[in-house]
Amino acid sequence: MRTLLTIARKDFTVILRDKAAVLVMLAMPLALIFILGSALGGIEESDTIDAKVAIVDLDTGETGGLFVDGLTGSEEIGELFRIEVRDDADAVRTDVEKGDLTAALIIPTDLTDRIAAGEPVALEVLQDPGSRVTAGVWAGVVRAAVSAASAQIVYGRALAEELDIAVGVPPSLRGEDPTPPIGPAPVPPSSTPITYPPYEPTLDIVTVEEVEATIGIRVSMISYYAAGMTGMFLLFGSMFGAFAFLKERREQTLARVMSTPASRVAIVGGKALGVFMLGAGQFFVLLIGTGMLFGVRWGEQIGATVALGLAEVFAAAGLAMTLAALGKSERAVGGIGPALIIFFAATGGSMLPIEMLPSWLKPLQVISPVWWTVDGFLDVMTGAGFVDVLGPIAAVLGIGAVLLAFGIWRLEYR
């Protein structure tokens, strides 16, 4: 064991002193995460402008229509949100859950009736937890609309009673029509003194109920690419491990190591452990670095994320031995290694979001440690716990064990 650790520590130090290795393993993933995340989705909540929301007016009366007109008719609101008026509440709920809509307003069927009856009634604002800030802004807009409507109705009733003029009161509340849309309350002529009657505001009984979608939580693109690039670049450690092995064989240091009393198991194990230590260090730097630099949230269950990452690092150690066995020279590994890693990364969703990948790739994904890892990372980011990712962890460890066994079997030491 002591010999194994000696070899691992030496390999770790030697690879760490290789500037190219450090550049590829740390600087490149951080740069790519930033570039891809920024280009495709912006950093964290920068997508709050021009978010897509929907309104579903189920009200059988006409008050719901006032809200719809008020919200869709405002230029200021239109600059912040792209509003769709839709009919199917279930479809809208699904779209929010999937993240296709940032938020939605569902106006209940009995809004007008309940207001008329003086009974409490709630407007439902659905929110995508992946875009909490944007959805929160939408809820605020809905509340403001309710307040404006309330003021308008109160003002209208006052005028109707005192001047016998109906202004701004919904027909269902007054028995007359038409009613102007909700908006800023009309300012009465300055010459007309206003005396507000002691009525309770009618729409105080209307509340806004914010509902957070419980499934389909989205992660920002920067977080997605943090997972994707980490999944891919953890495998690059294998290349440097294979390079180190082949360089040792070429420069005869491996032969010298073999001439010591160290067992072959200790030598190969030490080399694999060296790659593991390197990958583990790389993983923790990326984990902390993406959090600090880009605000990436890796999820509440950080233990599950760490377990996934270390499982992939183990697979990288196995891949290092396989690459060293397959490539007879460093040049050969320089060709085989990136090709294999990019294949794993492409099928694993490092380059494009997993849901965008064609269905014919799915059978290939099961052999990609990147896919299992990235999928697991994303699950943890969206609320999964350790138990939920035990399957992906086991799969990655299994792939790593197969790669390690193959490498040990086929390695040439001279």
Binding site: R2, T3, T6, I7, K10, T13, V14, R17, D18, E251, Q252, T253, A255, R256, V257, M258, S259, T260, P261, A262, S263, R414
Partner: protein, 312 residues
């Protein structure tokens, strides 16, 4: 003295190539044993089998009482290996390299530190211990290469062409280091194709060619192979092959071989053949530029036994 290395009927084949062919020798504790031969003679393959890096096709090896075939780990523990290549990690410092090799032989703690300091002192590089190997000259690398093989104080040190490609100053340092190690009781198996080194260092010498030992003994015993003959060396320009054949017929010349523009003749009567040889060459149109006569050395022994120079 007791035998510490015993090699019997050792053979190694790589496909159709017989690299080592039935080699046998033994090394006594405390001696420096030399394997002399040209490149490709089988010296490195023999050392690789003794250090358990290669498995022989036939034969047996025993080191310090342990058979390589059955107890390789004990054999390796008794050995220190200085390979022909500079087998060090360029991006590690000299001290880091030495500490690594020390740990590989089970050293640790104060014992390791003491060994590393001693090895650096042996190499004469204490003041550059914290510099990376990649910044060293070739000779300095060679010295650390040797230090890495001896810091665990092995019973037997295997040195495979340790002076290849270095400057005379570093070569002298290495030769003195080998003497110093041997005087401290370390047994050394030294391979080289430089006869001067082997003559200077070794108590006993085996001459190898084409995978076989063609002669073995002390320096004097080997010199006796050529039986008191002298070596006459003639440097000549414009020598034709027919002239060489003519010269070989001069009475008193036992053997005459050519290497580029140099002729080497083995003779028991150098005084009488010298004039005849020069006049034969000059009359055939060749131009003799220098003539020398010396006592036989390992070069002449090799020439006598194989009909070719060690440098061929």
């Amino acid at each position: 003295m007791s035998t510490i290395v015993e090699v019997r009927d050792l053979s190694k084949r790589f496909g159709d190539l017989v690299a080592v062919d039935g080699v046998s020798f033994s090394i006594e504790q405390g001696e420096i044993y030399g394997l002399l031969g040209p490149n490709g003679a089988g010296k490195t393959t023999t050392i690789s089998m003794i250090s358990c890096l290669l498995t022989p096709n036939e034969g047996s090896i025993t080191v310090n009482g342990h058979a390589a075939a059955t107890d390789a780990r004990a054999v390796k523990a008794a050995l220190g290996v200085v390979p022909q290549e500079i087998a060090l990690y360029p991006t590690l410092t000299a001290a880091e390299n030495l500490a690594f090799w020390g740990r590989m032989y089970g050293l640790g703690g104060a014992e390791l530190k003491h060994a590393v300091d001693g090895a650096l002192e042996l190499a004469g590089l204490e003041d550059r211990a914290k510099e990376r190997i990649e910044t060293y000259s070739g000779g300095m690398k060679r010295r650390i290469n040797i230090a890495a093989g001896v810091l665990h104080t092995p019973k037997v040190l295997l040195m495979d062409e340790p002076t290849v490609g270095i400057d005379p100053q570093s070569r002298n340092h290495i030769l003195e280091t080998v003497k110093r190690l041997n005087s401290s009781g370390m047994t050394v198996l030294y391979t080289s194709h430089y006869m001067e080194e082997v003559e200077y260092l070794c108590d006993r010498i085996a001459i190898m060619d084409h995978g076989k030992i063609i002669a073995e003994g002390t320096l004097n015993e080997l010199r006796d192979v050529v039986g008191g003959m002298d070596v006459v060396t003639v440097k000549v320009d414009g020598l034709a092959d027919e002239t060489l054949q003519t010269a070989r017929g001069i009475p008193g010349i036992e053997q005459l071989d050519r290497t580029d523009d140099e002729l080497q003749a083995l003779t028991r009567s150098s005084g009488s053949i010298l004039g005849a040889l020069v006049s034969t060459l000059e009359s055939a149109g060749a131009h003799v530029t220098s003539v020398s006569v010396r006592e036989p050395d390992l070069e002449s022994v090799f020439l006598h036994l194989t009909g070719k120079s060690l440098r061929d």
